[in-house]
Each structure stands twice: as C-alpha cells, then as structure tokens.
Symmetry: C3
Subunit: 273 residues, 3 copies
C-alpha cells in the first residue's frame, strides 16, 4: 500500500461531510480528525446540500436513518455528484428492515457512489435485493473465509461492475474491489467487532482517503481498509489485562492519530486477485 | 447471584433493540457489546417494529424523546409484546416534564414491561402520577437509605404488584423487586453518578440479562444491577490520581467486558427481603 | 482568575439544560458532570421550555440543528429570558450554511444571551451577516494572532456593545470581552483542535460558570475559558507516546474533574485590555 495515500490525507486535509447515525457519530468525527481531515455533520434538508458544497467529500451512513434525514441523504448525494465530489455509502443494517434496504437501493439508483462499504450480508442484500443481515452484524453463513475467497471475489467484482462502484466488504478477510481487481486484506483484529462503529469509522475514513486521492479510488479505499485494520492491531498490542472494548475503542483512534505512511506501507497485509 | 445468569448472556448473545437517547447511546451500545450481546438502534416508525421483530429483547429509554420517536416506542413495544420478547423501560427524567411523565405513563398503559428501571424519583413519578425529579437525578428527599429501606421495599413491591412488572430502583442502595421479593443491592460506587448514562447503560444491560434468561426476570434484573455495580467498583479500583469521570466511564465498560460469572457471584452484595 | 468562580460551580451545582448537537453531546454531558453540575438534554418543542424552567441555565448549540429542534431553541431561550436564567449561544458552523447563519441571527434577535462563544469566523459571520467559516473550523485568514490582537479586541468589544452580550472568541489566543474589557487568554494546547467538540464542551462549561456566578458574567466566562485551556494543557502533559486524540479527549474531561480553584488561579494566563 503506497504511503502517499495516507500522506495525501494528512497534507490535503479535506473537509468531509457525514450524514450518519447518532450511535457512532462522535467516534467517526474523532477518527476523521485522527487521520488529519476535518469533519462536519449536517443532516437537515435545509442545509445538507449546501454543507456538501463546502466540503470535499461525502459519507452517507444509513444507521438510525429516519423520515427527516433520508431526503437529506438524497439531496447531499445529488449535490456531491453535481460537483464531482466522491461519495461513500455505508448501508448499515441493509437487510434488517425494509426501510434500510429500500433506502440503500434507492440511493444506489439516484446517487453515483465512489465506494460502498459494508459487511458481507449488507452487500449481498444490495446485490440480490434481499438478505439475511442479523441486526447490524453479518450472518455467519455469509462470512468470507479462505475457503470461499475465490467465489467471494467473483461476487464482489461482479457487483462492482454492475454498480460502477468500488465495493469494500469488510470482515475477518476484507475484499476491496472494482470490476477487475480485488484487494484481499487480512489486517485487523477480532476484538474490533466488540467496539460499536468500527465499520462506521472505516466508512468515514474511506471518504477521507478517496477525497484526498482523486483518480485512485480503488487504491485509496484499500489503503483506508488496511489503515483501519493496522490501527486495530496496534491498539490490541497496547491492551492491558484489565482493558476492554472501551479502552480499545480509544486506542484504535489513537493509533490512527499516530499512524504514518511508512507504517501503513510496512504493515499492510493484502493479496491482489 | 447465580453465575449462569451472566454466562447465559455471553453464550446466547441475544440481539437487543434499543430506542434510546442520543446523549448516552454510544455507551449503551458498547456496554451491550461488553456483556456479549449485539446492539441495534432504530427509532423511526418506518422500521421500529420490524427491527424489534429480528431482535430478542427491547430497551425503551425516554431521554431526548421527541414527537418522531414516541410513536416508534409504542410500535416497537407492542410488537415485542406480540412476539413475547421482554421489554425494559427506562423513564429518564419522568417528573421533569409533562411530556416525559405522560409518555412513560402512556407506555405503561399500552405496553407490558418485563422491567422498569429508574431512580427513585422517576419511579415515584410513575407510581403517583407526579414527582419531584430534579432534571435526570433523584430528588435528595426521595433517596433510599438504610433508615427508610423497609418502607422503600414495601413501596417498590406494591408498585411491582400494581404493574405486574419487576421494578428496579437504583441509587446508593438498589432495590429490585417483584410483588413478593425484593433484592436490596449495595454494589456500586459513588463516582458512578459523575458519568453520564450509567443508568441508561444499566437499563440496556438489564434488557440483555432478561432476554438471555427467559423465565427468570427478577433474578436476571437483579444480576444486571449487581454486575453494573461490581463493574463500577472494579473500575474505581483502577483509577489513578489524574483520572476522572471520562477514564472512569471507559473503565466501567472495560470491567463488563472482562467480568465473568464467578466474579459476579463472589462480589455480588445483596440481601433478600 | 478568582478561584471562587470555579468553587461556586462545584458548590452550587446548577442544573444546565443543553439543546445541542448529537455529535459531541456525550462529551458535553460528561464535561458538565466533571465541573460539578448536572446536565439535562431536551430538544423537543413539547418539553424544551418546561425543562428550561427546572434548570438554572441554558446552553444552545446549533450544530446538527434541524427543523424540529430550531423551534425548541427559540422556546427554551424565551423561557430562560422570562425566568432570568443565563443563556449561552454556540453558533457552530454559522457561515457554513444559510440555515446556520439565519438561525444564529434569528436567535440573536429573539433571545437575550449572556454569552456567545464561537471561533473567530463564526463570530464574524454574526457581526457582519456573512462569513467564511470553513465547515466548523475558523478560516485561517481570520485567526487571532499577537499581531492583530489589538484590532481583534476592538472588533470583539464592539460586537459585545452592539449585542449587549459577553463575547468569547476562542482559538490559539482567546478573547472574552464585554464592551469595555477584554480578557486575552493564552491557555490551551494546539492538540485541542484534534478533538471533536472541545468548543461545544467549552460552551456548556461557560453556561455552568455563568449560571453559578450570577452578576459576574464576564469574569465567569473568562474563567470557563481559562479552565478549559488549563485542562487542555494538563491533559497534554499526561499523554504517552502512543496516545492520540481519543485518549486526549478523555484526559481533558478527567482534568476538569480534578481541577480545583487554586490550580485555576495559579495556571490562568491572561492579559486584560
């Protein structure tokens, strides 16, 4: 993973507009600050498009979506498209309710996304129009393993082709792919799933990386996924015997604050297929 | 306190749906993860009942309630009742505004709760139809002490009888009771009141315990209260001279992440009346 | 800075009502607890004025404002005015969208504020009716430095005179002024800008200080700004080599939890102009 992909984030310091859920929004803001960008959150139809216009990139996360914020997602997405800003979609919980599935599919129809990042069940829901998401977690039956990795790459590339979007499926093994190339990434730590919003934070981070690296969407998204996983590893290395998921949450963000391009390059673990 | 009550939470890993305030929601989610369950938050009428249906238990917390989320509370509560899922009510600030009091009383009328958890002023408000809640804190005049403990147990049991619900009144001394039996619990630490949302976290935890222990609502709720108090004690033991309420917040959740059934059983401090 | 200004907060323990954004609300609540007050958040028009009435002071923060919460801001502000409670305004992002600028200006027209606290670009937006706020950060061109400090003090005093309000402009150098007197404060640490919501926390803290010190609005606001800066310094002194902005966030709140009046008096760095 090229170190410049992170260095550009820190040097260009883009403003990132997030319309995101109120569960993990604070961590998303601190993660965006940790990587060197500036976050702004605005979800009212009365200002969403205008805030998008003053930012460099947009992150739409459908967790805790509601009748008031859904129109703002469309307005901001369309504004970002009109201005050529990259947009990331995090379809949190798609498959768990019709509202989430329909909103994610509706956004896919109206807004051109640079990257869609979700767990395998959420992405399958978008690809197939229905899914078996367990709340906001992936269905164990869907999980990507070494055994089904080839088939999973084919599936992700095909969905990337169909949507014209980079797809990032994250889990124990992450797949970040466009229609031709898949990065299979094995950074990360199992304890990350014990912290609420590591996926949301990664989506925000992905928006930061693709905004700071125009024309390199696939590489930037893969770098964001590696960076998040490396931070999860470094944070786990710091944990003491009494530490749990709350301290771990802080250490992951701390690690991003300290992460430099050389460390990203050295610790990134991926294969290209 | 039987260690199985915690072990069942960790083994059965129920999904818990919370409709809760945006002040403490992140800590509630991390507390639910710390005890081994999976949290999902969804407060829009367009999906609340459907999300309830895919979960095992429901936690309704009326802090930062609003005209949009109140109908979702009713819809989710009624759905949970229809499916036989346990529902916990946290009447945050009942007595501080008519909207909160009326919503809590309205929910009590339409929804069958497994447990209601609040401070003494909030519970008195529900029992008497009016109260002297000071914001979101208990009125000092209401506080349960060794001196008034007998009378307080009578009051709580009577309210449990009237509502057909387990009542958890938490403070320096906690009372968890159904109409016949009261657990008087003295775990906990005074500094817990310097962390926003320890009560909210406990309500979420209570939902986790009662969901994972069907048919043992009273014991499960009492175990949740003991567990939270023990975590408050263990977290306080870790504090250094420069640590304050923010680090303490993290250490409480960390302690839950590490808590095992044996420690719960050994450290639980309660009398049964 | 007189130590009594902090001691009064800890002894009088006022209830503070905040209508604030969902990004940083949890940290605001924990900061209010850290300084010894009791926070309550309520943003629905159905209860906002009533909650204001049971509190001692009000903090209005327009981050993540929306069509539902804006009327609650007006209602709460007018109620606070009617009862003689101090009101603090944090015009987060004024200048970044018309909705934010118009709401801040509208509130200024209808509500009498004790203190307005913002960055220099937000305050210029309110003074001039338009501004160049970069998202929620100050425009680099606007930043207060030793070189332009005299002119900045004149500007802030004039805006204080025009509005009849204490104005707190915070940045590397803070200016807290009424029409006659400006405190130029140099406490703080550059890393504070890497934590989301240190400004929001300071506004909440300012509401606490002015509520606990009636008749001393200017001094109380200046003391709050010094206190926050000192906590930023003390937190930075604790940081280890692997710590980043998440741990720093916790340490700032921890420092406020431990801060005493003597330390405030000894470490406050300010000039009066």
């Amino acid at each position: 993973m090229k170190k410049e992909l992170l260095q550009n984030v820190r040097e260009r310091r883009p403003l990132i507009h997030s319309i995101t859920n109120y569960v993990t929004v604070n961590d998303c803001a601190n993660m965006l600050l940790a990587c060197g960008t500036s976050p702004i959150m605005a979800d009212d139809i009365g200002e969403a498009a205008q805030i998008t216009a003053v930012c460099g990139g947009l992150n739409i996360n459908i967790g805790t979506l509601n009748e008031r914020t859904i129109p703002a997602m469309y307005a901001a997405g369309e504004q970002a498209n009109a201005l050529g800003h990259p947009v990331v979609l995090d379809p949190v919980g798609a498959g768990a309710s019709a509202l989430r599935t329909d909103t994610a599919l509706g956004l896919l129809e109206k807004v051109r996304f640079a990257v869609i990042r979700g767990n395998i069940s959420e992405i399958k829901t978008l690809a197939d129009g229905s899914g078996t998401t367990k709340g906001v977690d992936a269905d164990p039956l869907d999980v990507v393993t070494e055994e089904n990795l080839d088939a999973a790459c084919v599936f992700v590339k095909e969905f990337a082709r169909k949507t014209g979007t980079v797809i990032a499926v994250t889990g124990a093994i992450d797949i970040v792919a466009d229609e031709k190339t898949a990065y299979c990434i094995t950074n990360g730590h199992p304890m990350m799933s014990s912290v609420t919003g590591t996926g949301c934070q990664l989506s925000a981070l992905t928006a930061a990386f693709v905004t700071a690296n125009p024309g390199e969407v696939l590489q930037a998204a893969a770098a964001a996924v590696c960076a998040m996983g490396i931070c999860g590893e470094m944070a786990a290395e710091r944990l003491g015997a009494q530490d749990g998921n709350a301290t771990y949450r802080n250490y992951i963000i701390d690690a991003m604050y300290r992460l430099d391009g050389d460390t990203l390059e050295r610790r990134a673990k991926y294969r290209v297929r």
